[in-house]
């Protein structure tokens, strides 16, 4: 044990004596969270929606058809009660529910006006905004083209309600994304670079010649980054909670456990990268181009995955960050438990195992 602690201590020396490392470790989280505040996005396609038709008459049917044939929306399910709306959102598949008030056509004929309620899942603020605007536009054009054209001076009033994130705060978007990015950066990139540095300097050979076994060497190198990553995650959560008023509706212990799992995943990815690279530069390039950019662009952090070309959507399914973002959003904003996000959790756990197995395999090949 003494040997092992000496090793960990040495690793902390490396970190604390390099101002660049320190800057990345502690400057990044704060600056990132401030930088990624303003995120823009543009179009949507194939958004899954639910419809709760209390009226079920020919007008509501026509409007429904208009919406589903627009190419922007797919009718995922028909709902039959107010209670089902909340449930449908919690499943996480649909982004919007359209509610037609009862006696829609009758009211329209009698009073000249009827109401439609548009409820959007605003845990993803941008998408929610865009989705509800598109819906409004379709309804308005229906009124204009179908009703006014026939000389019927009717009016349909869409009422938009944002669920989970009433004020459409961008912070709800970028906190989970920033967490994923920072943890990737610190855990995967820093670990791979620090192991690659030992190889480059030749100190790895000396360690491998010593009675220390490879596994404790790797664990000793990884532990400091794990500790620091975890501190970073806590700092990000605290910043978003106290400064940006981001809610933590779910269980915080559960959130931290999921975070730890993601950190494990990133660390094993970092180890895998380091087995494939013999210098710090190579490790850095692989981390940068294979991890950082895809994490930012393909995980749904900045651009909604629905809007991507199909091929990029497929690519995004292998982005660990994608699942972590879903997990964090669900826990923090919706207050979901493991029942909702077990699939994402399982995927990240699977990736961790995969990366570890690959690293061990790579390591053995090198010894042969």
């Amino acid at each position: 044990m003494n040997r092992f602690f000496g090793f960990v201590k040495k690793e902390f020396h490396h970190i604390f004596r390099d101002y660049r490392t320190m800057l990345i470790l502690f400057g990044m989280p704060i600056s990132q969270i401030l930088i990624f505040g303003y995120v823009v996005s543009n179009e949507i396609t194939d958004v899954k929606i639910g419809i709760f038709d209390k009226s079920k008459d020919n007008v509501t049917q026509e409007i429904t058809n208009k919406i589903t044939s627009s190419g922007f929306f797919i009718l995922h399910e028909n709902l039959n009660s107010d209670k089902e709306i909340e449930k449908a959102f919690k499943k996480g598949v649909i982004r919007e529910v359209i509610v037609f008030e009862s006696d829609f056509a009758k009211k329209l004929e009698r009073d000249g006006t009827a109401g439609i309620q548009i409820i959007a899942d605003a845990s993803d603020a941008n998408t929610a905004n865009i989705v509800s605007n598109y819906t409004k536009a379709i309804i308005n054009s229906y009124v204009k083209n179908e009703l006014f054209a026939k000389g019927l001076p009717y009016e349909i009033i869409p009422e938009v309600r944002m669920l989970y994130n009433n004020s459409l705060k961008g912070v709800y978007m970028f906190v989970p994304g920033t967490m994923a990015l920072i943890l990737m950066l610190v855990s995967a990139m820093m670990t791979s670079i620090s192991i690659a540095r030992e190889k480059e300097m030749g100190t790895m050979e000396v360690l491998l010649v010593s009675p220390l076994r490879p596994l404790p060497i790797v664990i000793g190198k990884v532990i400091p980054y794990m500790v620091l990553s975890f501190i970073n995650a806590v700092v990000i959560i605290a910043l978003s909670y106290f400064i940006f008023d981001m809610p933590i509706r779910g269980n915080i212990i559960f959130l931290l456990l999921e975070t730890l799992l993601f950190i494990f995943m990133a660390l094993s990815l970092g180890i895998l990268i380091s087995t494939a690279s013999n210098s710090q530069l190579v490790a850095m390039f692989i981390s940068m181009f294979a991890l950082m950019l895809p994490t930012m662009l393909l995980s749904g952090f900045i651009f909604p995955i629905e809007n991507m070309p199909k091929i990029l959507q497929w690519l995004s399914t292998i982005m660990p960050a994608r699942y972590f973002i879903i997990i964090v959003k669900n826990i923090m904003i919706k207050g979901s438990g493991i029942g909702v996000i077990w699939k994402e959790t399982l995927i990240i756990a699977g990736m961790t195992v995969f990366f570890l197995v690959m690293s061990i395999k790579n390591f053995k090949v090198r010894l042969e």
């Binding site: 003494n2 040997r3 000496g6 090793f7 040495k10 020396h13 490396h14 004596r17 390099d18 300097m201 030749g202 100190t203 050979e205 000396v206 360690l207 491998l208 010649v209 010593s210 009675p211 220390l212 076994r213 010894l367 042969e368």
Partner: protein, 244 residues
């Protein structure tokens, strides 16, 4: 050479990387306490062989015993008995002299008390008391080389492997370094050293010369010179290389 106990025994060692044969059927012994020179041009297979002997790499076939233990089956026992210094003078640049010694002593499981006492005497001997708290990155190459060597034998191994320990340093520093090697050898540690400086070959008790994966000559420098009818080791080496 009155001691004939073998500390390294290599029988028919073969190491292949795909179809490339890096070590072609090597057989040799190293005797306890001697300075064994392992010579050859770049790419002759020296580093591959030293990696196998020090447990960094596995042989494709053949039998290799170091300090009486099989490198394949008893790696951990081998590791406790050897020291290793790479051609990069592997020290941590961002740790101080004292921290490096402390760290390397620590990974061999030596007690704190022992490390402390030995560090004091080592710093005294190297005359490095004044710079013990300087970072390695601030030191000249020759000093790093001495520290790296001292660290490699800090845990009193039976054998120390030196992989081109004199690369990149000036002739005076090289001379100083060989003084350290002699002292080490006198204290009973077997020294296994690779080099491509032929003048250094003269300092060794016995020398093996590798070419294209094979050992082409193995004896004392004097015998080798006689055998190849050469004035110095340089000539021996060239004759071996030209034979192909």
């Amino acid at each position: 050479m009155e001691n004939h106990e073998n500390i390294i025994e290599v029988r028919n060692l073969v190491k292949k990387f795909g179809s490339f044969i890096a070590n072609d059927n090597l057989t040799f012994n190293v005797k306890r306490g001697e300075i064994f020179g392992f010579l050859g041009a770049n790419g002759a297979g020296k580093t591959t062989a030293i990696k196998i002997l020090s447990g960094l790499s596995f042989p494709t076939s053949g039998e290799v015993k170091v300090a009486g233990f099989d490198v394949y089956k008893e790696r951990e026992k081998v590791k406790k008995n050897i020291g290793y210094m790479s051609q990069k003078f592997s020290l941590y640049e961002d740790l101080t002299v004292r921290e490096n010694i402390r760290f390397y002593g620590g990974i061999y499981g030596l007690s704190n008390k022992y490390i402390k006492e030995k560090t004091e005497s080592l710093l005294e001997r190297l005359k490095m008391n004044d710079i013990q708290n300087s970072l390695i990155s601030s030191l000249p190459l020759g000093w790093k080389q001495k520290i790296a060597f001292s660290v490699a034998i800090f845990h009193n191994p039976k054998i120390v492997f030196l992989d081109e320990p004199t690369g990149g340093v000036d002739p005076v520093t090289r001379r100083d370094f060989w003084e350290m090697i002699y002292e080490t050898s006198d204290s009973g540690i077997t020294v296994f050293v690779t080099t491509h400086y032929m003048d250094e070959a003269e300092y060794c008790d016995r020398v093996s010369i590798m070419d294209q994966g094979r050992i082409e000559g193995l004896d004392t420098p004097e015998e080798l010179k006689k055998q190849f009818e050469a004035k110095n080791m340089d000539e021996v080496f060239i004759k071996i290389a030209r034979k192909q």
